[in-house]
């Protein structure tokens, strides 16, 4: 039954995406672990970690597409949920260091010893347990989104106003996490991780497992998001995107639908952050930077808003381009390219890569919930 819920109405695009990610999940770790370094098909560990990072971003993009593409909530603060999930994971990894830190304190992380803290702050309790930390990865972003959304949607803050206060939210968190007194490592954040559930974070096998886990979570995130948008609830959510007032007049509690989608999306972003941290090896407050959140929006816009698959595609494409661009002589021009992309996509490709390509081929079996450009607001 769950399978039916998750796979109902799956179109070819969805199957291609699932197949691709599943293949990546199996082939990339295998080629990394089993093939000799000299082989043409061997994937270096660094490449695998890089792609792991891209796929985390893809999950973040899917979570944003869920709220923006299907519910019309342009969140400019989704990076905050990503970073909070990352911090929850980072706190678990910090506690796993134990007495192997520079100062050798069995309880306190290095930065706390450095700041002369005497005991662990209460909000660090429990993070030595993996299940608890994973619960927090979901609960902290989810709770923040729930509280924030509960206030915002109930009082009908919409459109540009909502975008701006989500930006203010992540900005406030950025400032807060920069403070040393907060107990999250301040400017430097959390880093120098050793173990994750007993395995060395740096080890090749652990990295392969993390990569596979990221693929699994991406698939799960995609299926959940898809399950939501094709369900009856999803139809209401899309109606809210297209004509919020009309939906309200029809008797739907618009704020509750929005709140549900927003919270689910925040949890998903938190998971993406949690997978991101062990693969990148650091989490610091710059993840809260409003610019990051806006960049996430552009991934979704480029890939194709309201398609889920497109969001993931956009995240991978843009980040891959970023890696290519910023590592060569083109580095100074990356921001030009990124800025140009923002303008180009909004002006000429409102449906993104996927939507445009789809139009171009001009044959689809069913009008699945694709990227309709947001209609003019009903006045």
């Amino acid at each position: 039954m769950i399978t039916r819920f998750l796979l109902q109405n799956m179109d070819r695009r969805g199957y291609v995406f699932l197949g691709l990610i599943a293949a990546l999940a199996v082939l990339m770790p295998l080629s990394n672990l089993l093939l000799p370094v000299g082989s043409a098909f061997h994937v270096p560990t660094s490449t695998m970690s890089l792609w792991g990072k891209y796929l985390c971003y893809a999950l973040l993009a899917i979570s944003l597409d869920l709220v923006w593409g299907y519910c019309g909530i342009l969140s400019l603060g989704h990076g905050a949920f990503f970073a909070l999930g990352g911090y929850a994971m980072g706190m678990y990894l910090m506690r796993q260091i134990g007495s192997r830190g520079v100062y050798g304190n069995p309880v306190l992380p290095d930065f706390m010893v450095f700041l002369n803290w005497q005991e662990l702050p209460w909000y660090w309790y429990g993070f030595s347990s993996f299940p608890f930390a994973m619960l927090m990865v979901l609960a902290v972003p989810g709770l923040l989104a729930f509280v924030f959304g509960w206030f915002a949607f109930r009082s009908r803050v919409t459109g540009v106003y909502l975008s701006i206060i989500t930006q203010a939210l992540t900005y406030a968190l950025l400032l807060a996490f920069f403070r040393n007194d907060m107990g999250f490592g301040g400017n430097n954040g959390l880093t120098d991780f050793k173990d994750i559930v007993g395995f060395n974070v740096q080890a090749q096998t652990t990295r392969a497992a993390l990569f596979a886990m990221t693929c699994v979570m991406l698939i799960a995130g995609f299926l959940i998001a898809r399950g939501i948008v094709v369900s009856k609830l999803g139809k209401v959510v899309i109606a809210i995107r297209d004509a919020e007032s009309r939906t309200r007049f029809l008797g739907y509690r618009v704020d509750r639908f929005k709140l549900f989608v927003f919270t689910v999306s925040a949890c998903m972003a938190g998971v993406a952050g949690a997978l991101y941290v062990p693969q990148v090896g650091i989490i610091n407050p710059s993840e809260f930077n409003p610019a990051n959140s806006i960049e996430t929006v552009i991934w979704v816009a480029i890939g194709g808003r309201g398609t889920l698959v497109g969001a993931a595609l956009g995240a991978v494409v843009v980040n891959w381009a970023k890696t290519v661009f910023t590592s060569g002589f083109m580095a100074p021009y990356w921001l030009f390219a990124l800025g140009g992309l923002f303008v180009f996509v909004t002006l000429f490709m409102p449906k993104g890569i996927l939507g445009t390509a789809q139009e171009w081929w001009g044959k689809r079996r069913k009008p699945t919930p694709t990227a309709a450009p947001a209609p003019a607001p009903a006045e």
Binding site: V157, Y161, I164, P332, Y333
Partner: protein, 531 residues
Amino acid sequence: MLCLLRLLRSLAVAMVLFAPPALAQSAEEAFTRLNADSFSDTARAVDILIATAHPQAAPIIEALAESRLLAGGGAVVVRTREGGFIDARTGQTLPAQPAGLSPVRLNNNLRRVVQAALGGLGLLNPDASKRTLAAEAVFKSRDVSLLPVLEAAIGKETDAKARAALRQAQAAILIAKTDAPPFDRIAAIDVLRERGDQDALATLRSLPGDASQALKEAQTRAITEIEGRLAVWRAAQNLWYGLSLGSVLLLAAIGLAITFGVMGVINMAHGEMVMLGAYTTFIVQEIIRTSFPGLFPYSLAIALPLAFLVAGLVGIAIERGVIRFLYGRPLETLLATWGISLILQQAVRTAFGPTNREVGAPAFMSGAFELGGLAITWNRLWIIVFAMLVFASLLAILRLTPIGLQMRAVTQNRRMASAMGIRTGRVDALTFGLGSGVAGLAGVALSQIDNVSPNLGQSYIIDSFMVVVFGGVGNLWGTLVGAMTLGVANKLLEPYAGAVLAKIALLVLIILFIQKRPRGLFALKGRAVEA
């Protein structure tokens, strides 16, 4: 040892002061002692010179401090800084260096004596402002040995300000002087209470522990009063900082408010318009520096219209080139303008480098003055004035000009305005140009108080958004109230919470406030279901 010396010296000064007939003879004694080539005699000579108020005392002691005082064979000669020679007794210029002279030597003790003497000399300086400065120095040093000189100076003082300063210096010395008459010391506490600043507080606290009960009570009363007064001044100073911050926010946000009000789009590149204005100022100053150095005092006046034009034209170009294709899609506009802001930032970074560029301040913008207990810098004051001027002129444009009328009409109801024959497209372009131009003006002002770097705009954009969503877009007063409220609230919170926490608290408060009034303080009233 030093205390003993000082005591001796003050005794000597006192003796001399209260023995007027001996004056002429004593002055001669000073020159004899300068010839004696002994440190203690030299010190004594300095005291005598001051006490007798010898007409040449100042040049002689200054020369002594700089090892330009020569003595030998009964003669004392000052070598001037220019290399000439003056007879120390009479002040007459000598034709050539007299033979057989050697510099009067100094040691550390003597240097201290000489420095104190120079302070004392200042008290007798013919220039009233110099006397005031010298009195301030004595107030800080609380040098007991200068008390007699002070008293003599107070007796002769005619200038009210200098007199007050002298009396405060005297009071500062008397407070710590346990053998002074108790009545005088209570009067001294009173004088300090009237002065009422941080220094007076520190001086009052230095009252020795063995003071009498009455004295201690007077001290406690005075300290309480001063602390109360200082707290009021501190609050006033914070209020001032708040107004200053508020006017900066007003400058940065007001253009944004206009475009948001008329077109319903948020221009994420607004901060970059501010940055363009600042860089225009930089370029204007560079050209002035290299080609027309005489024009530097007018550099800001020249930069203002240019910044307005540059930013305004870029704004119109953005509107015509991008934004007009995105009508009815405010969220896409937001993304596109963010892209433009990235491009502009990177363009400026490529052209001018990533580091801060130096923008100079004309003379009228630099320096500070004190108003009661307030320290007010001129640049902040001018920026407040400038912000108010910009605000008033925008208000006038919106109220009194045809284009202002059209803007207001479009703000209230775009379709209706269009139906009445207003070319809304043109209004949009002009509005965007105006809003961007005002941002350029803000850039000129901000170049005076902030770093001119490619990131200049980024640091203001979020605060500007906050002002706009807090104030609402119904009219400009909302922006004024919003900016001032945020500025003042920020600065009043800072002393209790620290700069960062104050800002976080404010952001959270605004997020909560938006729940209560989703359209800001001064929302437009209308019948639209959604906007």
